[in-house]
Symmetry: D2
Subunit: 404 residues, 4 copies
């Protein structure tokens, strides 16, 4: 494949070793101007300190830092939560949900600066390349896409550091890095190192945000979440924006070791990977939302919501955010969420977030029905007819068999 | 509805207050012989002590006690576990899975004693009446079915006790009973009392089998499960039958407070109910099986297994065990389970069962792929083509839109 | 069950034998005032001639005739069509879709006249009782419901005629009626008579609206449909309302014998029934909508639309229109339909409606791609990488197996 | 990508222009021995005449012709039919089902002759490359794969003919070929030419096997199919093997213009294509199988079968035959098919195959139920209870709303 003709490229820049190499590499290999774009999605704040200077020092002509934290939680995470999506039954999609909001903002910067190309620092083995490029295809099919990791022949941190040193580009990155990590307002993921064998248990240093459940407080703590239309709108009675609610719950959850998972998952690109994810606030939110649903959704609606959750988990994981199918699934979930209003008390204790109390103005649960006495709405004699018809096909089938 | 003409009825007898009343009631109201049938599915052993004498004293002509523990675990629970079924995302179907094995054995006793009717002690508000009668419809559509709770006008424990007293039938049952419970080898459920308001947290006395996580050992314990074809076949290296494995794991799990859930669920008969369930060993088994699946199932297979789990959860909950659909779903799950072989270490700690180590001879996880270096099977340059085609429809759609 | 206390009831009145009996029967058995409600949903117009007089003559205090034709097609049929629902793969849900619009209007009349009860003339064996009462439960749970067919002991037409004669109520109904029929703007259904054995082919007189394909014109006819957002908005270039479009297409389709089906279906109440349905215009509309979807929906969206179609077919058939689940499924389908714009030419010939030409401004089909030459968007070399990753899990699995 | 090191390659050889070029091209470009493999899957018999000589003349060292007709129909088509799969609602998967049986036999030849590579003549734009290579990955991950169309720079028939002429390899292929076709025992497909615009109707010459419905006999013909366990086992009372049954029904169907479809479909590789498919016998078989299912499958089973059909349609279309997921879906379908026994009369007339009579020993349809009189199994009064419980959640929800 011959090199593309590129004049100005916007690169998703993190300030880390990889993307620091990408800036000079793009300039040298494509002879183009490079604009750095930094998405503030709630990653470790010190990563953003001095990042503009770093980008310029690496050769970028400009550097844009865009605060996407509110948008990420409000427009990407909250809609996904309504579907109840856990990828492969466990993963709360922290990295997956951040990619489309970053890619969208990156395209907007590209339009603003008149760029003709987009670049990202994802490797050729992972999901993120698909998520970025899937978003680019949907939002800016006219822009060229450069994925340096699939092109260059740098295959070690040492080579990357040498590359920068040879060009006198300062870089504080260390030669060795045990784990590969990704963090945003919602979660932090950890891969590599000891985790590379599935027969190894995670080490203590695999976990970053959350207290080890064994070292978490011996006393449980209770937190109350207010839920409206499938969204957490308040904590302990205080109205909060989605991002604020997440920050508060992250702190509470992390203290009690809530939200750790250790999973081997199927990547979209056909291989399996193993990761440790910490999603303390998100785990609390999911428990709260699912608990209100227990009160509100009828049997068939609950089942459909579960099916939507599976579908959404794949769409979001697979980088399908900006597709008609994802929009359709989200529309269905939003419709079901219209009734999901209420309040839930969550107990936090040594790694667990457990709903202990729940109520809703839309609750279909009725204390009267639950008791043994007579009531007006439910007449036990109805059950006989119900069962008879409900089992009719079984009965006929069995009578048939007997006749033979 | 006029009374059925019945000569001999087999009643599912538990030795409790309800079914003790049912025996004389059936005799008086149907003028028939009553045979008691007791299913030993692993409920509290002292419930079975002297149960035959009790049945005879209540007026039964005969009493059969049948040990169904092995059959329950092997033929009902294990197949269901392969589907990954959690009803409404949480409930491990303990009561649901026991009903078909009981009903089947009850029908066999009816055939053996030449009965023309079957009776059960389920109330008219619950799921169990549907599960029993659904099984009866499939297995013995020619036998009549009597559901005394839907017929008689006894509506309190006091009335039931008076009924027995008036007939000089001895009964040790107490006048008040706070909770309604059901237990078998797999689980114990608790309903009623404080749980009747969803805004009440469960009391300590809502939990029977499991240690309160707050009082569980401060030291974690590790247990290793051997898995073959989707079934737990050994614990800590010792080969065990399904029932034996369950007994061992129940003990370990209960000690660490594992397997408690508190759920508001949709009953099949259209109302919601709230229950606390304890499934210590089952929770460990599920964690182990799902963990091996993480290694073994590809992305699309994993998704289908999740869908099968949702379907199976409804079929089993709804009393559809003996239907062609249930058989079909189980066949699909068994097929996927053929590769589910391996070993998992589970950490038990204060209410949680967490897989920390897992391996499988069928694992699709490859350490080589997970690292950053080059490898033979996966060529990063392939990803470019993959993404291009994977996103092609998005690209075309977007280019279309731009044209307009 | 003791009789309900009813003061004023609104009965869904058709002018036929059954509902003519129901009016005096309700008055005699419930001692209440009876208001007749007639839904004009496009059934045979002569059924409506003089219907108000007939109702009054039968004893109704008032009679309301409400024109629901536009609402039926616009608000019930069109949304359902977007889902692509065919019940059990064949049935276009003609009767099912009409029930909720009728029930809703009936409730509105009940509110208007201050009635405290609703009645319908559906038998106890069919789906319609569930559809009516399901709608009543959702829209007016406070109103009592009377289903005379489940209460009275009239079991033949002769008994019904005698009942009317004894009360001097005039009725033109004949003593024998071979078939049971239901018609509205969308379809006509025929059950009974020769159809009662599935081993009988339908007779000529089983079909009412459509020409026998064998007697249909020997020359095909072509009709062009304009489609916007998943709705037929014009025919042969002429803008038409949903109902008008249906009328035009019914005429064309009927002439060519289009839209006959003969199906054995599963009723909701557990038994199977056999019916012949004629849906000439609807069949043409479905062919047109599905054809535009072929151009517009990507692979995964098309599959989801098919799944929504199955779900919707059951929800609509089962009388679940006014449920949160139905609303959610419709929201998903509407979202996908947003792109379904275009134009389709349908060939009508001897029972078939076949799309021969189709185009759409949103078409993802590209002539360039379809040809063998080189092109810009699709690079054949991409396919190698795609396949490699797409098959990666298969490859690893197989390599694993070889190692053993 | 550097050329692979190949010693002996087995190429799927058709005798057509493309694969005739591939033989010398492989020898020249890979310096390897080339073995030709011809799959007899029921394509036009004259294509096989003298094919071994042709292969040798083109440079193959050996040529194996393997008769796969019985295996194709018995082991690939029949299992798929049980799922009811129509790709995107229409396409009967003719080409898709043939690829795995061919690939499997090709791998067997490769093992037999000790080859280290496999080659096919599929283009880089189609599905077949994925199907072949997907099968190779599952069956022979150790063998190298060569896809000449993705490598060479021949882009026209003229260039291909020149290539052969320059090497004195005889070839009877014409310079121009309007349509691209694929045929086997099940179907023939036609792409290209006039079909490249979706706004063009197919020309007469787009159809090969089937009579134009307008020219088909004016008299309908009736054919009776015997069905056992979801398989057509006889026609008009004569027991036939799967392949024999297909041959007989192809002839009858083709005569009456049955089995034409014209579809725009989503290829797996992200683009849309348009094709005309003729599947006369298959269309009759599908109508027969679905008709027996109407009698035999209960409501929930029928719905699951429909879902399996959608899933299977994608798996088979996408080249996923040799995957655990496909095996699982087939296991589920086979389980449901166990009851699908019976007999169906199909009317063939001017393009249509319509079941007019059907019966089954497992039929759940009961004439008694269908009539209006009283019966033993179904008591109309049961319906009241059924509806009450069936609508309970709706009722509670609505009562809730009224309270607010």
């Amino acid at each position: 494949m011959s090199k593309l003709d590129v004049k100005k490229v916007v690169v998703a820049y993190s300030g880390g070793l990889d993307t620091s190499v990408i800036i000079p590499w793009l300039k040298e290999n494509y002879g183009c101007e490079v604009v750095a774009f930094v998405a503030d999605v709630g990653q470790d704040a010190h990563e953003l300190v001095g990042i503009e200077e770093k980008a310029i020092a690496s050769g970028a002509s400009e550097c844009y830092v865009v605060d996407l934290k509110d948008e990420l939680v409000k427009d990407y995470i909250y809609p996904t939560l309504k579907t109840g999506a856990y990828y492969e039954g466990k993963y709360l999609l922290g990295t997956s949900m951040a990619r489309p909001v970053i890619a969208k903002a990156q395209v907007e910067i590209a339009r603003k600066v008149g760029a003709d190309a987009l670049a990202h620092g994802c490797t050729g083995k992972g999901n993120d390349q698909v998520r970025f490029e899937g978003a680019f295809a949907a939002l800016a099919p006219d822009l060229k896409v450069i994925a340096p990791w699939r092109e260059w022949d740098l295959v070690s941190r040492e080579q990357c550091l040498d590359y920068l040193a040879a060009r006198n580009i300062p870089c504080a990155a260390s030669l060795t890095k045990i784990y590969s990590r990704d963090a945003n307002a919602w979660h932090i993921s950890t891969e590599g190192g000891v985790l590379e064998s599935t027969w190894n248990a995670p080490n203590d240093d695999c976990w970053v945000w959350t207290t080890d459940p064994e070292k978490a407080p011996n006393e449980p703590e209770y937190v109350t979440l207010q839920v409206e239309k499938g969204e957490v709108v308040g904590v302990d009675g205080k109205k909060l924006s989605p991002y604020q609610a997440l920050v508060v719950l992250n702190e509470k959850g992390a203290k009690h070791g809530v939200g750790r998972i250790d999973i081997v998952e199927n990547r979209l690109v056909g291989m399996k990977s193993r990761g440790c994810y910490e999603t303390p606030g998100g785990t609390i939110m999911m428990e709260a939302l699912r608990s209100v649903e227990q009160l509100v959704l009828d049997k068939a609606s609950f089942e459909f919501r579960q099916e939507l959750g599976i579908k959404a988990s794949h769409l979001v994981y697979d980088g399908r955010w900006f597709t008609p199918l994802c929009k359709s699934v989200m529309a269905a979930a939003q419709s079901l969420a219209d009734d999901v209003n209420g309040e839930v008390v969550i107990k936090l204790y040594k790694g667990q977030a457990t709903a202990t109390q729940k109520r809703s103005p839309n609750s279909l649960y009725s204390e009267e029905f639950a008791t043994f006495g007579a009531d007006e709405v439910y007449d036990q004699s109805h059950a006989g007819g119900f069962i008879r018809l409900y089992s009719l096909a079984s009965r006929i089938r069995s009578l048939n068999a007997a006749k033979k």
